[in-house]
Amino acid sequence: MNEEVLVRQMKEGDKVSFDLLYDKYKNMALRTAYLITGSLSDSEDVVQDTFVKVFLHCKELKSDSGFKAWMMQILVRTAYKAGKKKSRELPDDEVVEKADTKTGQSSLEQILVKEEAQMLSETVRRLPVKQRTVVILFYYQECPVSEIARMLGCREGTVKSRLHVARERLRGMLDADFDSVKCRRDRILE
């Protein structure tokens, strides 16, 4: 069904329409929240808060076609607050949990690619939450700078500045980290 129709029906109190919208965006929302908070349990809390707010406040959404951007704005701000409250280190048990979900890869090459990806994500996670949020929205969500600015309630220039600083930090961290990973990789593949 057309998303605008679902949004309109949800605004009239139709719970089934809300359920369908939730099904459409639940995984994307959860993954984005996870990347920002760095915690599975926190990201579930963020998604819960977000969709409860979506249902209870959907009448405040002015344009039915703007549902995704509006929902994402709530999600990002909720995740941002959660990210600021919590320590940025990923708890050990969740690292293990994440690692377990990635087993079952058949080739050594795939395992190493995933290891590199995990290392990169860890690097992103070590960024301050303001820069991390911008990086996730820009690279993962592929949001334009103007949309990120609206979501975070700041100027486009601020987003660009945070992106620039984040890139520089990432480059610096990745230069160091990749040296060690690539050396290890080359040794294993020899």
Binding site: Y22, K26, N27, A29, L30, R31, Y34, L35, L40, S43, E44, V47, Q48, F51, V52, K53, F55, L56, H57, K98, T101, K102, V113, K114, E116, A117, Q118, M119, L120, S121, V124, V135, I136, Y139, Y140, E142, R167, L170, R171, L174, D175, F178, D179
Partner: protein, 261 residues
């Protein structure tokens, strides 16, 4: 040269890889549904009520019992059922309204100070307990009075289901035959569901003459004045927000309803 790979694409791919196995669980949806249900119970149907109906549905109930304290400890909040909102536009329909209510009541069409009957309704009011469960439902008659250039007034009438007692010391009292009239003033702060209480709000909320009521579209602060009394087992509450009336003037109006003036 250290960065031989596509830096931008590498970041994107890494982030996608990092979370691609994460999926929303069934229990997450159940938690969301539970919280929505609880929020709706807490808010009742207030969100969709006008300030006028809020007076009838919430403030009136609280004013009526002096802060909403019930000796038996069951009901803690109230909300009107919109589906049964059925207005009578003519005072000639009083017999029909009383038949729907189930018992005769004292009332007048016009007060000596110029307030006149506007409309009335008989509604089912839901009473909720502390756990968000519906405790019981009772019928409540609401009569609106209006006067040009003045705020509306409301007379609400119902038979109490529970034993009730006042928490707040009345601001004034007057005897009227065998009936005691109680005059109370309250401050109501109506706030949206998303509103977060300030420290000042929390301090005010401890006062017995201050109420914070969730469910309005915007923050509104209103002063209520009301006269309450009990006669023949029926509770009456004549009240309104931001009224330009003194306690004595409101007592006089109550006496006109009772028929003792």
């Amino acid at each position: 040269m250290q960065m031989k790979y596509d830096f931008e694409q590498t970041i994107k791919s890494a982030l996608e890889t990092e979370c691609q196995d994460i999926t929303a669980s069934r229990s997450l949806k159940e938690r969301i549904d539970d919280e929505i249900l609880n929020s709706q119970k807490e808010a009742g149907t207030m969100k969709h009520l006008s300030v006028k109906k809020l007076v009838i549905g919430v403030a009136a109930a609280c004013l009526l019992v002096g802060g909403g304290a019930f000796a038996s400890g069951h009901a803690v909040s109230f909300s009107n059922g919109i589906s049964v909102w059925d207005n009578y536009k003519s005072y000639d329909d009083m017999d029909k309204a009383q038949e729907k209510l189930g018992y005769p009541v004292d009332c007048v069409e016009t007060f000596s100070n110029g307030y006149q009957f506007s409309e009335m309704s008989v509604d089912d009011v839901d009473a909720w307990d502390e756990d968000g469960n519906k405790a019981y439902t009772y019928k409540d008659m609401s009569i609106y009075y209006e006067k040009a250039g003045e705020p509306d007034m409301y007379l609400t009438i119902h038979k109490p289901v529970e034993a009730i007692e006042r928490e707040k010391t009345p601001d004034a009292t007057r005897g009227c035959g065998d009936v005691t009239l109680y005059y109370d003033e309250y401050t109501y702060k109506f706030v949206p569901l998303s509103y977060e209480l300030t420290e000042e709000d929390k301090a005010n909320d401890e006062r017995d003459d201050y109420n914070i009521s969730y469910g309005s579209d915007e923050v509104e602060i209103k002063q209520s004045k009301g006269v309450t009394w009990k006669k023949d087992g029926i509770f009456y509450n004549l009240a309104g927000f931001d009224l330009n009336l003194s306690a004595d003037e409101m007592f006089d109006m109550a006496e006109q309803i009772i028929g003792q003036e």
